[in-house]
Symmetry: C2
Subunit: 471 residues, 2 copies
């Protein structure tokens, strides 16, 4: 693994000076929106708009060419029409700009003419400037104060998750959705057509990056299969790599060719890649975020024996079905433990067998605490799942799962569904979200459904089993 990526990519993720080429005062224009987002996000370094037609852009002095900017430039954002991009990148090279991100589309994804433009970019890159893109949304690096195109509202504080995305749309949606789930990112890179910097380079960077503990990725195609596979195997031994491979169906492969002109690849080849490399496979946006959440909050030695605690018999049946279908186990409790639990829960309408049914979707704090303590200490399970209990009504009840995890060291996962999606119940949704943010702040993973929690637990434990067996 190359170890100089940290220095090499520092101008991209932590630029001291940033030029925005194609910047405009008209925020309906692409280059206007880019500069606006950069300003709104609060970039703290020196910022130089470049536009030959405007002398002042959004309150900043503008330059006709990047070569007119006084002093060195670390990084440049390029938002000019595709035909003009090679010339602009050439000027950046001559100016000594260390790296650029080309947001403009209109390259090889549009056919031969665009491919020719893109080859020109690659040739310029080879002469000493690094390129992110083209056809991308660029880089979000909260530590460096820069954000991707529509990402002005993304969190300003960094976190331990890195995200490599061939899709610009997902580069914004993943950190945006992660925000409400308490997931924070070290860096997100939308790398588009990857004319220069590609998924392998970024994987190397994140493998070495001390700010990144969990690597996630949305990939459509890889440039160099053998290199990617070797690297992935190596990186997975060091950090978890959660990967979503798009374009493995016929229609998906066709969409990949339209989008980033990558080769989608075949499903059976990718099956083997995942299996042999130890990467954690996810199949959609939700699975990616759910799995990230498990890696964020659970300990590596967490096992697969679970106890769902819910308030209703049908909910217990569904919980056990969903857990066991996913591959978790819901072991029956021994007689003695059942007796103990029976003395805590109501006599009728409840169950002490595992799943535990406390007979009430909003149980009193005292009862829930006693049940969780008993299960945590004597249940011989690895994870307690607080399953669809109403945690929004009483603060003392909501605190119980946190207390049990803190005091007894038992893994606790919370399932808090949206019970009503109507406009009239928006206030209840606000209460639900407040509880979710409280759990996120306390490091407790919260899932929307038990099915999603079970899937995340299986992928999480699967990775750590593989890593333990591999060691």
């Amino acid at each position: 693994m190359s170890s100089n990526r940290l220095d090499e990519f520092a101008p991209i993720f932590f630029p001291q000076t940033l030029a925005v080429i194609g910047a405009s005062s008209d925020v309906r224009k692409f280059g206007g929106r880019v500069l606006q987002a950069t300003l709104a996000f609060g970039y703290g370094g020196r910022l130089y708009p470049v536009n030959p037609q405007e002398s002042e852009v959004q309150g900043l002095k503008a330059f006709a060419s990047v070569k007119d900017v006084p002093g060195p430039i670390d990084f440049a954002t390029i938002a000019v029409p595709a035909q003009a991009v090679p010339q602009v990148v050439q000027e950046c090279l001559e100016k000594g700009v260390k790296a650029v991100q080309v947001l403009s589309a209109g390259f090889r994804e549009l056919g031969e003419e665009g491919a020719e433009l893109e080859r020109k970019l690659a040739a310029i890159a080879a002469r000493g400037i690094r390129i992110v893109g083209p056809n991308c949304f660029g880089v979000y690096s909260p530590g460096g104060g820069i954000t991707i195109l529509p990402g002005a509202g993304l969190p300003k504080e960094p976190g331990p998750v890195g995200f490599i995305s061939q899709s610009g749309g997902y580069a914004i949606r993943v950190p945006r959705r992660g925000q409400g789930m308490g997931i924070r990112y070290s860096k997100v890179v939308s790398y588009g057509n990857a004319c220069d910097i590609n998924e392998c380079d970024l994987l190397e960077y994140f493998a070495d990056d001390p700010q990144t503990e969990i690597i996630t990725g949305y990939i459509e195609g890889v440039k160099d299969g053998p290199r990617f596979f070797r690297l992935l195997r190596e990186v997975c031994r060091k950090k978890p790599v959660i990967l979503w491979k798009g374009g493995l169906t016929q229609g998906g492969g066709r969409a990949v060719r339209s989008h980033t002109a990558s080769l989608g690849g075949e499903e059976h080849i990718w099956d083997a890649v995942f299996r042999q490399a130890g990467a954690i496979r996810v199949r959609d946006l939700e699975e990616m975020l759910d799995t990230t959440l498990a890696f964020l909050h659970l300990k590596p030695d967490t096992g697969r024996r679970v106890c769902p605690i819910g308030g209703g018999g049908g909910i217990g049946v569904a919980a056990a079905d969903a857990c066991e279908r996913a591959g978790l186990s819901v072991p029956a409790f021994p007689e003695e433990l059942q007796k103990k639990l029976t003395s805590i829960i109501p006599a009728a309408g409840a169950s002490a067998r595992n799943p535990v049914d406390v007979a009430n979707p909003g149980p009193p704090a005292q009862m829930l605490r006693a049940v969780m303590e008993t299960v945590a200490c004597e249940g011989n399970v690895d994870v307690i799942i607080v399953d669809e209990l109403d945690m929004t009504m009483v603060r003392e009840t909501a605190e119980v799962p946190v207390d049990i995890r803190n005091r007894l060291g038992k893994a606790v996962v919370v399932v808090l569904p949206v019970e009503n999606t109507g406009v009239a119940t928006l206030e209840a949704e606000g209460a639900r979200r407040r509880v979710c943010e409280y759990y996120a702040s306390q490091g407790l993973p919260v899932y929307l459904t038990l099915e999603r929690a079970a899937g995340a637990l299986i992928r999480f434990t699967g990775y750590h089993r593989w890593r333990a067996a591999d060691a």
Copy 2:
């Protein structure tokens, strides 16, 4: 199929007089909550609280015994301790009450003693009174003005969906969640231990009920397998039956025994039941509601060729993958159609191949209309999926899918995800919900993810293919 169920069950679903036995002024007590919910829901018939200790209950004159109530009684809700239930039901029989719902728990789900109590109930029923339950939440019948235990806030207007639920919890959660999705129910029956009225009786009722067009069910076990199977085959030929069978895993089966003391059954037997009877199988709450929505709004002859229209390349890739994995087809568009679409959508960052990528998550109404019209008229697809476009910003854009469905008769399905689950974005969620309710009011199915939309479409089209082949 018995055809007298409509008359037989009329006192249950449309009672002219209702006694609440065990009613109390103390709403912390079970019998107090039951009466409170009945009053809050606005039951319009004559209502008689029965309680030997109180002379007035929640502002109504109370009676010491059901036998003291003047005049006939159609239906009685029973919320007294299990031990007292047989005596109370016996009195109801002697009074001439036509049917009762026993909400009390503590019967065969608790072992031999409870089973003996339950056998007593069955024996009384055989002498001429129908029993729903015990161990249930009873009946929600908006047309009859009655609601299940915690269901005071359920919609007062009925709809075309019936729901048979062995679980009380799901009997409340399904119509509550359905509420925000625009699904309305004719009747919901939580039938618990089914000491008398069971899933077969209810299936017969809903098959004949002119108010019910779609039958849904959550079932843990069946009393009489051969009767259930014969009946299911017959009913599925008449109306769609969407069934969720709980308890098919080891842990789930154990939970079923704790909950309603039913026999869970084996997965391979149930596989055959679903396959041979033509019932629509769902595996969780979300699948049940998603599938119901498709049956509510789509035409029986809808096919499986789809065109997702989104605003972003990665979203198109994911859409095609999700559709084809589920079993839908995303046929490539012919050259000529691609050319036409290319003249409408932006030149760069878009795709006309199918999925269509309009390059902008919030496209102008005019562009979206032109794209949808072109696809609807020339696309040779059965369903257009408006995939994760932002419909909350501009009203004209939001109206386009409705207009296309209305004017061109093309099936349109909308996917509107929750992009951020944080407290700070609650207002955006309100806007999203308003658009969802608008689509629901216009009869357009809305799904949270494309995966869920695709699953619902497959189950919906699968049923109608089976029915067409079977005819």
